[in-house]
Subunit: 340 residues, 2 copies
């Protein structure tokens, strides 16, 4: 895919719809040249505003769709700016379920201009069915009380911290944004349902006993929309360690005003109970809290209350980092030195 | 699809691999003309043996693949007989994940002969994501301690018994065999993972308060391969009533010798706990036991022990029928008379 990227935000008003854009900005800052927003857009990445023509002049390679609406389809209002990007000489990168070439105007413009359409959510290979057979190597999976609250960020931060400590670790991407950041992985929610667990087994293959795969979680076992994806990923990942990700500011699940959020302990207990089916040693090692939506002064008390409730390490990875979560994995602070 | 069917069994040795063929024989007997078996096949439907040439002469319209190997792909040894069926003038009907036209020899023979290839597992439409929003109407879902032990049969039998009682009821097919029998439905395990629950919601739409949808379950919440499918189907189905299907003769899950079978109570408790997320009134109304693998004389004691263990109605639908399960739904024995 041709870098750098122009991040397209459409007319997004909810930052949680723009998690792809935030992920690219936070984890691949050098590959990102600016943002392109439509009228009404209330999300701001704090990047230079560029339209496709200016971006092309500035040497941008691709416009990347940085928003992920429910259902993952191209919105009507995006078609003109996407076509315009192609006509200005940019490729398009998409993590949507719908393939870009399914939109006739986009397919036609790509053909006319000779520009490339990248649909990263669509695996180019097929997967076996899962077996539940235990594989060597250690695995950590982030699970959530809901969607879009920090499972990817937490996994990326833990993988980075483990590497910093000299641990042999890999981040394993399971969503379109993680995939764009890591350059490999499986968009697990786009796999045919029968093969969810099998794809998760494939993603995190047998490894050295001391190797850690840090696997990006998806959805929530409590989500009436996506729990099937979360369970297949949990079974296939066979996690030794689980980190529960939570947003204490939410009054209901995202996009589902009629569905209450589960509690952190409730989510932890369900995840461990179900995880034991493929790894009897599965345990929760800590809680990752997204406090970005909390009013000033509320952060400390909320984290303290969660520590009290769960008796576990509780951090906001964007504030405290994830050192405390990695400590709970019982890996040495300087594994490389120890192994040398 | 052109009927009647010739049921192709390949070289199957395990009857549970041939559940599609058994389902067609048991529920659409008039549409089935015979069986075609390859050397080594140990499964016998008790139907006339016909090769494709004899079947074509006898007026058969299609050869239907009656076996479902793990992973759902065309086996090497099937290619010649499938091509032969096309050359004899038969269409092909398949419920496999792999599309028939993906096998070059089959695609070529279909093109040359002008015969049709039907891939019933592939939905011709897309689905929305699930919402978990409660819909009017009553729903029953069969769930299993494992795959391939009677969830479809039980659902078909309950739907038939309810109709016999004058209840407004529909069987809702979620697998390839159910679909071939009912002529409609969704092969839920072939849906893109993000849309499992949404497809289940679509399959069983809002209905009259007294209407019953009897939904065919898939997989098992305890299956390390397929639990994601089972959970998405459970959430999307919002069942008021669950029937747990079990095979007491199995020592481990099918095709997974390292995975123990869950107990009936364990399966019932997990299903109810997870079902309450989208229907707080969900309850288990009975147990359906497949006793076909039990030695003579063991049937009675096994059912009695399960009754003792679960305190629920326990039947083998192929022996006792499902009247006792329908009684537990609190529908009147003569709903039509009552409603008149």
């Amino acid at each position: 895919m041709r870098r750098p990227y122009l991040l397209f935000l459409g007319a997004a008003t909810d930052p949680s719809d723009a998690k792809t854009a935030f992920g690219l900005r936070d984890w691949c800052r050098d590959d990102v040249a600016g943002q392109h927003r439509l009228p009404g857009c209330a999300v701001d990445l704090g990047l230079p505003e560029l339209d496709p023509a200016a971006a092309a002049e500035a040497g941008v390679g691709s416009m990347l769709i940085g928003v992920a609406p429910v259902g993952g389809r191209v919105e009507e209002a995006w078609i003109a700016p996407l076509v315009s990007a192609l006509r200005c000489g940019l490729d398009l990168v998409s993590g949507l379920h719908q393939r870009l070439e399914e939109v006739p105007e986009i397919a036609e413009a790509a053909k006319e201009t000779g520009r490339d359409l990248h649909n990263v959510r669509h695996a180019t290979r097929s997967f076996p069915v899962g077996t539940g057979r235990k594989r060597p190597g250690k695995r950590l999976l982030t699970v959530g009380t809901d969607c879009a609250l920090g499972k990817k960020y937490t996994a990326l931060a833990i993988a980075a911290e483990l590497k910093r400590r000299g641990v042999d670790a890999d981040f394993r991407a399971t969503g379109q944004t993680g995939l764009m950041i890591a350059g490999r992985g499986v968009a697990i929610d786009a796999v045919v349902a029968d093969f969810i667990a099998g794809a998760a087994e494939w993603l995190s293959p047998a490894a050295d006993p001391d190797h850690w795969d840090v696997i990006e979680g998806q959805g929530s076992l409590h989500s009436p929309a996506y729990a099937g994806v979360s369970l297949g990923l949990l079974h296939g990942s066979q996690p030794d360690a689980l980190v529960v990700c939570h947003d204490p500011g939410r009054e209901h699940m995202v996009d589902l005003p009629h569905v209450p959020m589960p509690g952190v302990n409730e989510a932890a207990e369900l995840a461990v109970m179900l995880a034991k089916r493929t790894n009897p040693a599965a345990r929760v090692v800590g809680v990752s809290v997204n406090t970005s939506g909390l009013a000033e002064g509320r952060r400390g008390p909320v984290l303290a209350a969660l520590r009290q409730e769960t008796k576990l390490p509780v951090v906001d990875p964007m504030v405290e980092g994830v050192a405390e979560l990695c400590d709970a994995l019982s890996v040495p602070h300087h594994a490389a030195a120890g192994a040398a």
